[in-house]
Symmetry: C2
Subunit: 220 residues, 2 copies
DNA sequence: TAAAAATGCGAGCTTTTACTCACATCCACC
DNA sequence: GGTGGATGTGAGTAAAAGCTCGCATTTTTA
C-alpha cells in the first residue's frame, strides 16, 4: 500500500455563516448516504443538496473521504460518550444489570438512525476510516477492562484483554448485523435479553439469581 | 436504491485454453486484491497481471463486480462445505468438543489467506455481494439449528433461531476481527478456547466437566 | 468607510476507469 | 485443408467524478 498524498486539513470555519455551511454539508452528506446510498454520494451532489457550491465544500473538506470520516467520527464520539456514561452508572450494579445496560446502550445508539449506520458500516472500510472504528473498539475495550478490574471478585474470566476483545467484537457485530439484516431485532426485547445472558454466562458462570443453580450432568 | 442494470452473464469457457484464461483472471484478481488492495484492482490492471487482454476479461466477466463476486462465491462455498463436514463429524460429540471443532474450523478457513479475506470483507459490501454473505450466514444458521434440534436435551436455550443468529454473527465477527486487527490471535490457542467457553456456557450453563460446579452467590 | 480577511461561487479541467468493437488467431471437425 | 465457431487482442471511447482556480460577495477590523 503506497502512502496516500495525505491531504492537508482545510481551514476551519470562523464565522457563523461558515459554520452553517459546514453543518449543511454534513447534513446533506448524512441524508444522501442514508437515503440514496454510497454511490450516489458524489461531492457535486452533496454540495447541491446542501445548497452550497462545490467550491465551498472543498474549502472545508480536503476530499471526499474526509466527509464520510467526519460523519463517522461524530458517530464514534457519540457512542463512546454514551458508553462512558453507562459504564459510570453501572459501576456498582449487579453484573447482569450492568451488562444489560451496556447492551441496551449499544442497541439504542443504532436504533436512532439505522439507515445511516448501515451505510457507515458499509462505507467505513472503503474509505480509510477503519482507523476510527478501531480506536472506538480500543476505547470500549479499555472501559470494559476497567470494569473487569473493579469487579474482578465476581468474575471468573482470566485474561481481561482477551475477554474484552471477544465481548466488544461480539456486541458490535450483533448490533450491526441486527441493523443490517433484522432491523426488527433492535426492538425485540429477547435480543437484548439473550445477548445479555450470553455475556453474563461467559463472565460469571450462570445467570440464575442464586441458589437456583442447575447442574446438567453428562457423561464425563 | 434504483435497480441495477443486472448485466447478462457472459458465455462460459468451453475449451481448455479459455478455462485457463478464466483461472488466470481470477488468480490475478485475488493476488492484486490481497497484495495491492481494492483500489488498485482495476480491470485493466487485473487483465495485465493475468497476462490476458482486457477484451478477454470482458468475455467472461460482464463487469468488475462479477470478478469480486466470483472470488467471494468461491470463498463462501469453501466455508460452507467445511462447516457442513464438521457439523456432520461432531454430530454426537460432547457439546464442548463439538463447539470447539466448529470454532476451529472457522479459524482455519481464515488462516489460509488472511490478506485475501481482509480485502473480501472490505470489498464485499462495496460491491453487491452482501447477498452471498447473507446466504452463507443463513446456511450456517440452518446447520446450527439442526444441531440444536438433535441435541436439544443437552441445551438450555429456548429460541433456536435467535440463538443461531447470535452465535453465527459472533463467531463470524470474531474471526473477521482477528484477521483484520490481531492476525496473531488466529494462531493463539486461547482465542479458540475462550470463544468456545463463551459459546458452551451460553448453550449449556457452565463448561466444568461435571460435579465441579461452582456457585458464586451474590446479593439477590 | 476603506482595506483586509473570510467566505462563497461554479464553469470546466483533468484524470481515471470501466467497457466496446473491429479484427486477428486458434482449434475442432468434416 | 478448409470452414466456422471459439477465443484473444488492445487501441480507443465515453462518462463519471473529484477537484481547482479566478473572481464575486460578505463580514470583520481599524
Amino acid at each position: 500500500m503506497p502512502a496516500k498524498p495525505l491531504p492537508q486539513p482545510r481551514k476551519a470555519p470562523r464565522q457563523k455563516r461558515s459554520l452553517e455551511t459546514v453543518d449543511a454539508i454534513l447534513a446533506a452528506t448524512a441524508h444522501i448516504l442514508s437515503k440514496e446510498g454510497l454511490e450516489k454520494a458524489t461531492t457535486n451532489h452533496i454540495a447541491a443538496r446542501a445548497g452550497v457550491s462545490i467550491g465551498s465544500l472543498y474549502q472545508y473538506f480536503p476530499n471526499k473521504e474526509s466527509l464520510v470520516r467526519a460523519l463517522n467520527d461524530r458517530h464514534t464520539q457519540e457512542i463512546l460518550a454514551l458508553l462512558s456514561r453507562r459504564f459510570e452508572e453501572v459501576r456498582e450494579a449487579p453484573i447482569p444489570d450492568a451488562v444489560r445496560a451496556i447492551v441496551r446502550a449499544m442497541v439504542d445508539v443504532h436504533r436512532h438512525d439505522p439507515d445511516l449506520h448501515r451505510v457507515l458500516v458499509q462505507a467505513t472500510p472503503a474509505v480509510g476510516a477503519k482507523v476510527e472504528t478501531r480506536r472506538l473498539e480500543a476505547a470500549a475495550g479499555r472501559l470494559l477492562v476497567g470494569f473487569f478490574q473493579a469487579r474482578a471478585a465476581e468474575l471468573r474470566i482470566q485474561d481481561f484483554e482477551l475477554s474484552a476483545f471477544l465481548l466488544v467484537q461480539s456486541v458490535e457485530a450483533l448490533t450491526h448485523a441486527a441493523v443490517l439484516e433484522h432491523p426488527g431485532l433492535l426492538e425485540d426485547e429477547r435480543f437484548v435479553e439473550e445477548t445479555t445472558r450470553m455475556i453474563v454466562g461467559y463472565l460469571t458462570d450462570g445467570v440464575e439469581p442464586a441458589g437456583k443453580a442447575r447442574r446438567s450432568r453428562r457423561k464425563s
